[in-house]
C-alpha cells in the first residue's frame, strides 16, 4: 500500500507524473524489506530459533559419531576444490545442533564457517539447513531421534557377514541420482535380530502405522547422500571400510593398486552422488580403517602392501560383536553363529592358499568379481528386514501366528523328549520370542493441513472414511426366481456354518485359555464356554426350541455341505449326551438323503468315530430306536416291509454300513453285559433285531459297501436271532468272519 506522508504529497492531477510519483513512493516503501529479504530473514529466523530451542531437549549424544564424522570431513577437504563446493553445500544440510556442538566445532578447523549466503533468493535443494529447517517434515523430526537411539545403541557394529567378501570389489559408488526419497531406509546400527528398544518401537510403529505429519511440506532432500557432515552412524562407519562404496567398472581394474593410487585416479564425478559413502583418499584411508576403536588415526606411514592384508588388518581390529541373540530360537542362533563362523573362515582364506573349492567359495568369487554387487546397501537391506520384523510383532502371537507357534512347540517337545531319552548335553531351551509389543492405544490424530480453512479430513488406513453410501435392500420373496431362492438359502446355511465354526474354534481354545488365566477368571470362562456350546447346538438344530423338533431341515442343510459335516464331527464331543443323541437320531433319520448328497464329497465317514464314541454312552432304549431309524424298520414286526430303499441306501454306503454295524455291536454289548435289563427294553431290542436280520438277509451281497471297521461281537449277536444256516449266510454277506476278508 502506498504510504503518504501527507495528503499534499498525493499526485492528483498529472498523469504522467503519477507513475513517477509512484515510483518515488516505492523507494520509500522498500518492497524488498529487511524482514523478508534482508538480514531479518537470514539472521533473525524465528522459525529456526524456535526449532533450535525445541531440539535442545531432544539433543542426543552425538559425540561419538560426530568425532568420527569429522574425521571424514577432513578427508573430504583433500579431494580437491572441485568437490569442496559440493561438500560444502552438502554439509550445510547438517542438522543444526551438530554445528553447535563444541565437539564438532573443535574438530572442524578446516571447514569454513557455514553461513547462509545473504540475499540468496533462489533456494535450491542444496541450500543450507536453515532452509531445510522449514521444509523438513515432522516425519523426519520424529524419525531422527529414533534412528539415533538405534545408532548409538551399539557402539561397535559388527562387520556384516555377507559383505565381508565383497569389500575388495567395491570401492566407489556408481553415480546415483539423489532424488528425494521419502521413507528411505534410515541408518540402523542394531542388527535386526535384536529386540527393538521399547522407545524405538512405538515411535516406529507410530511413524509407520500412524503417520502424524502436522504440516504437509515439500519432500525432504535426500537424507542419505549424507555427507560426512551428517552423523555417521557406527553402521555406516563400519560399512565404509568394509564396503567402501562401489567400484565403477573402470575403477575396478585398479583394485590391486588401489591403496597406493594417486588421488587423481579417483574420478570425482563418481563421488557426487554418494559422498558420504565415498572412500577417502589414501592418507585419510588409514584413519578411516582404524576409526572404530582408536580415537587417533595411526600414522600415515603405515602402508600395508595390498588390499588383502588391509582387510586382515581390519579383521583384527574390528572385533566380532555378538549381537544379543538370546531371544532367538536356539536353532536360529546356531545358524547365525555358524554363518558368522563361516564368513570368518572365508576371510582367513581370502588371501591365503586356502582353496576350499567349495561351491560357496566359488560363489563368493563370483560376487567378488561382480562389479554391480551391493547396489543395495546393507542399510537398505536392514530396512527391508526391519519392516518384515515389524510385521512379526504381535501382541498375541498365538492368535496371529497360530501355526508357526504350534509347529515350534511341537519341535521343542520333540527335542525335549529326545533329550530325556538320550540324556545328552543339555540343549538350549529358550523359546522363540518374537518381539512383543505392548498394545499401544494411541489416539490417532488425523492429518491436518497447515494453512487450510477448516478441517480437511484425509482418509487413510488408520482413519477410514465411508466413501459410498450403500443401502442394503432386502429383496422380497416374490421377486426372486426359484434358483435365487435356493442360492440364498444355501448362502444362509453357509453363514450359519461359519458362525458356528467360529464358536467351535473358541470353545476348543478354552483349554489353553484356562491354563493361562487366573483363578478368579476361570468360572467366568467356564460359563462362557457353556454358553457357546449351547449356541452352537442351537445353530445346528434351529432356534425353535419346541418339544419336538419341527423340522430337521436346517440340520440337513448343514450336513449337505462338506464343511458342515466336518464341523458336526468336531462339535459332537462338546455336546451333552442328549444333544448329541438328538443329532445322531436326526442323522440316522435322514441318512439316505445325506448319503446321496455326500456322493461327491465322501466326508461322512469322518462322523463315524465321534458317533461311535457317543454310542458307548447311550442307553439301550436309544440304541434300539436308533437302530429302528437307521434301518427304517416298520413299527410292528408283523407287517412285512415290501422293500426298504432306506436300508438299501444305508447298506450301500460305507458310512451307513459302518454305522449300522457299530449300532448293532453296541446293542449286543448292552444285551450281553447287563442281564438285569428291563424286559420291555429287551423285547424291543429283540423285535428290532429280528426285523433287522430279516432285512439283512434279503439284501443281495453285491450291493453292500465295505465298512470302515467291523466290530467283533456281531457273530454272537446274530447267532441269537437266526439259525445256523442263516448265520452263515449273514456271515458271508457281511464278511463277518475274518478269514473271508
Amino acid at each position: 500500500m502506498f504510504r503518504y506522508e501527507s495528503l499534499e504529497d498525493c499526485p492528483l492531477d498529472e498523469d504522467e507524473d503519477a507513475f513517477q510519483g509512484l515510483g518515488e513512493e516505492d523507494e520509500e516503501i522498500d518492497q524488498f524489506n529487511e524482514d523478508t529479504f534482508g538480514s531479518g530473514a537470514v539472521d533473525d529466523d524465528w522459525q529456526e530459533a524456535h526449532e533450535r530451542l525445541a531440539e535442545l531437549e531432544e539433543k542426543l549424544p552425538a559425540a561419538v559419531n560426530e568425532q568420527t564424522g569429522n574425521g571424514e570431513r577432513d578427508e573430504m577437504d583433500l579431494l580437491g576444490d572441485h568437490e569442496e563446493n559440493l561438500a560444502e553445500r552438502l554439509s550445510k544440510m547438517v542438522i543444526e545442533n551438530e554445528l553447535e556442538d563444541p565437539a564438532i566445532m573443535r574438530a572442524v578447523q578446516t571447514r569454513p564457517v557455514l553461513q547462509p549466503q545473504p540475499g540468496s533468493l533462489n533456494s535450491s535443494i542444496w541450500d543450507g539447513s536453515e532452509v531445510l529447517r522449514r521444509i523438513r517434515g515432522p516425519l523426519l523430526a520424529q524419525e531422527m531421534p529414533t534412528v539415533s537411539v538405534l545408532e548409538y545403541a551399539l557402539p561397535q557394529k559388527p562387520p556384516q557377514g555377507p559383505e565381508d567378501d565383497r569389500d575388495l570389489s567395491e570401492r566407489a559408488l556408481p553415480r546415483r541420482s539423489t532424488s528425494p526419497i521419502i521413507g528411505s531406509p534410515p541408518v540402523r546400527a542394531v542388527p535386526i535380530g535384536t529386540p527393538p528398544k521399547q522407545m524405538a518401537v512405538p515411535s516406529f510403529n507410530q511413524q509407520i502405522l500412524c503417520p502424524k505429519p502436522v504440516h504437509v511440506r515439500p519432500p525432504m532432500p535426500p537424507r542419505y547422500p549424507a555427507p560426512y557432515g551428517e552423523r555417521m552412524s557406527p553402521n555406516q562407519l563400519c560399512n565404509v571400510p568394509l564396503q567402501p562404496g562401489r567400484m565403477s567398472p573402470s575403477q575396478f581394474a585398479r583394485v590391486p593398486g588401489f591403496v597406493g593410487s594417486p588421488l587423481a585416479a579417483m574420478n570425482p564425478k563418481l563421488l557426487q552422488g554418494r559422498v558420504g559413502q565415498m572412500l577417502p583418499p589414501a592418507p585419510g584411508f588409514r584413519a578411516f580403517f582404524s576409526a572404530p576403536p582408536p580415537a587417533t588415526p595411526p600414522p600415515p606411514q603405515q602402508h600395508p602392501p595390498g588390499p588383502g592384508p588391509l582387510v586382515q588388518n581390519l579383521r583384527s581390529q574390528a572385533p566380532m560383536f555378538r549381537a544379543d541373540t538370546t531371544h532367538l530360537h536356539p536353532q536360529h542362533r546356531r545358524l547365525l553363529h555358524q554363518r558368522q563362523q563361516q564368513n570368518r573362515n572365508q576371510h582367513r582364506n581370502l588371501n591365503g592358499a586356502g582353496d576350499r573349492g567349495s561351491h560357496r567359495s566359488s560363489h563368493q568369487d563370483h560376487l567378488r568379481k561382480d562389479p554391480y554387487a551391493n547396489l543395495m546397501l546393507q542399510r537398505e537391506k536392514d530396512w527391508v528386514a526391519k519392516i518384515q520384523m515389524m510385521q512379526l510383532q504381535s501382541t498375541d502371537p498365538y492368535l496371529d501366528d497360530f501355526y508357526y507357534q504350534n509347529y515350534f512347540e511341537k519341535l521343542e517337545k520333540l527335542s525335549a523328549a529326545e533329550e530325556l531319552q538320550g540324556d545328552g548335553p543339555k540343549k538350549e531351551r529358550t523359546k522363540l520370542i518374537t518381539p512383543q509389543v505392548a498394545k499401544l492405544e494411541h489416539a490417532y490424530k488425523p492429518v491436518q493441513f497447515e494453512g487450510s480453512l477448516g478441517k480437511l479430513t484425509v482418509s487413510s488406513v488408520n482413519n477410514p472414511r465411508k466413501m459410498i453410501d450403500a443401502v442394503v435392500t432386502s429383496r422380497s420373496e416374490d421377486d426372486e426366481t426359484k434358483e435365487k431362492q435356493v442360492r440364498d438359502k444355501r448362502r444362509k446355511t453357509l453363514v450359519i456354518i461359519e458362525k458356528t465354526y467360529s464358536l467351535l474354534l473358541d470353545v476348543e481354545d478354552y483349554e489353553r485359555r484356562y491354563l493361562l488365566s487366573l483363578e478368579e477368571e476361570r468360572p467366568a470362562l467356564m460359563d462362557e464356554r457353556k454358553h457357546k456350546i449351547c449356541s452352537m447346538y442351537d445353530n445346528l438344530r434351529g432356534k425353535l426350541p419346541g418339544q419336538e423338533r419341527p423340522s430337521d431341515d436346517l440340520f440337513v442343510q448343514i450336513m449337505c455341505i462338506r464343511k458342515g459335516k466336518r464341523m458336526v464331527a468336531r462339535i459332537l464331543p462338546f455336546l451333552s449326551t442328549e444333544q448329541a443323541a438328538d443329532i445322531l437320531m436326526t442323522t440316522a433319520r435322514n441318512l439316505p438323503f445325506l448319503i446321496k448328497k455326500d456322493a461327491q464329497d465322501e466326508v461322512l465317514p469322518c462322523l463315524l468315530s465321534p458317533f461311535s464314541l457317543l454310542l458307548y454312552h447311550l442307553p439301550s432304549v436309544t440304541v434300539t430306536s436308533l437302530l429302528q431309524q437307521l434301518m427304517n424298520l416298520p413299527q410292528s414286526a408283523a407287517a412285512p416291509a415290501p422293500s426298504n430303499p432306506h436300508l438299501t441306501a444305508v447298506l450301500q454306503n460305507k458310512f451307513g454300513l459302518s454305522l449300522l454295524l457299530v449300532v448293532l455291536s453296541r446293542g449286543e454289548d448292552l444285551q450281553s453285559s447287563d442281564p438285569a435289563t428291563e424286559s420291555t427294553e429287551n423285547n424291543q431290542w429283540m423285535q428290532v433285531m429280528f426285523m433287522a436280520t430279516r432285512e439283512l438277509l434279503r439284501i443281495p451281497q453285491a450291493a453292500l459297501a465295505k465298512p470302515i471297521s467291523i466290530p467283533t461281537n456281531l457273530v454272537s449277536l446274530f447267532s441269537r436271532y437266526v439259525d445256523r444256516q442263516k448265520l452263515n449266510l449273514l456271515e458271508t454277506k457281511l464278511q463277518l468272519v475274518q478269514g473271508i476278508r
Binding site: G161, P162, I192, G193, L328, H329, Q331, H332, L335, L336, R339, H359, S362, H363, H366, L367, D370, Y372, A373, N374, L375, M376, E380, K381, V384, A385, I387, Q388, M389, L392, Y404, Y407, F408, L432, T434, R487, L494, I561
Partner: protein, 133 residues
C-alpha cells in the same frame, strides 16, 4: 533366514542369479539387485527366456523393475548347474516363430473343442459365471 527362522526373505538372494516367473507367463532370468517390502524386484542383466517344447530362446532385456504382485515365483539359479540342461538354445527369431506356431495350434484346438461341445448342446462354464462352491 538370517534374522528369523520361519520367515521368507529375499535379502539373502540379493546379487544372485534368479529365475522369475511372472503372472503373465513370462520367464525372466537376471541378477536380483534390489528388493523392497512388497517384493518388488530389480533385475539386472535380465534375459527373457521363451520356452517352446525342448527349445528355448533368450531375449536380452537389460534392467527390469518388477512389481511384486506380478511375481508368481522365483528361485535362485545354481550357476554351476545352469549349463547342464536337456533343453536346446536357439535363436530369438526361431523361438518366436515356434511360439507363434504353438499359440496358433492351441487356439485352433480350443476352437474345435468349443465347437464340439456346442454341437452336443453343452457349454464350457466360464469361471466368472460360476456361483457354486
Amino acid at each position: 533366514m538370517n534374522y528369523m527362522p520361519g520367515t521368507a526373505s529375499l535379502i539373502e538372494d540379493i546379487d544372485k542369479k534368479h529365475l522369475v516367473l511372472l503372472r503373465d507367463g513370462r520367464t525372466l532370468i537376471g541378477f536380483l539387485r534390489s528388493i523392497d517390502q512388497f517384493a518388488n524386484l530389480v533385475l539386472h542383466q535380465t534375459v527373457e527366456r521363451i520356452h517352446v517344447g525342448k527349445k528355448y530362446g533368450d531375449i536380452p532385456r537389460g534392467i527390469f523393475v518388477v512389481r511384486g504382485e506380478n511375481v508368481v515365483l522365483l528361485g535362485e539359479i545354481d550357476l554351476e548347474k545352469e549349463s547342464d540342461t536337456p533343453l536346446q538354445q536357439v535363436s530369438i527369431e526361431e523361438i518366436l516363430e515356434e511360439q507363434r506356431v504353438e499359440q496358433q495350434t492351441k487356439l485352433e484346438n480350443e476352437k474345435l473343442k468349443v465347437q464340439a461341445l456346442k454341437d452336443r448342446g453343452l457349454s464350457v462354464p466360464r469361471a466368472d459365471t460360476l456361483d457354486e462352491y
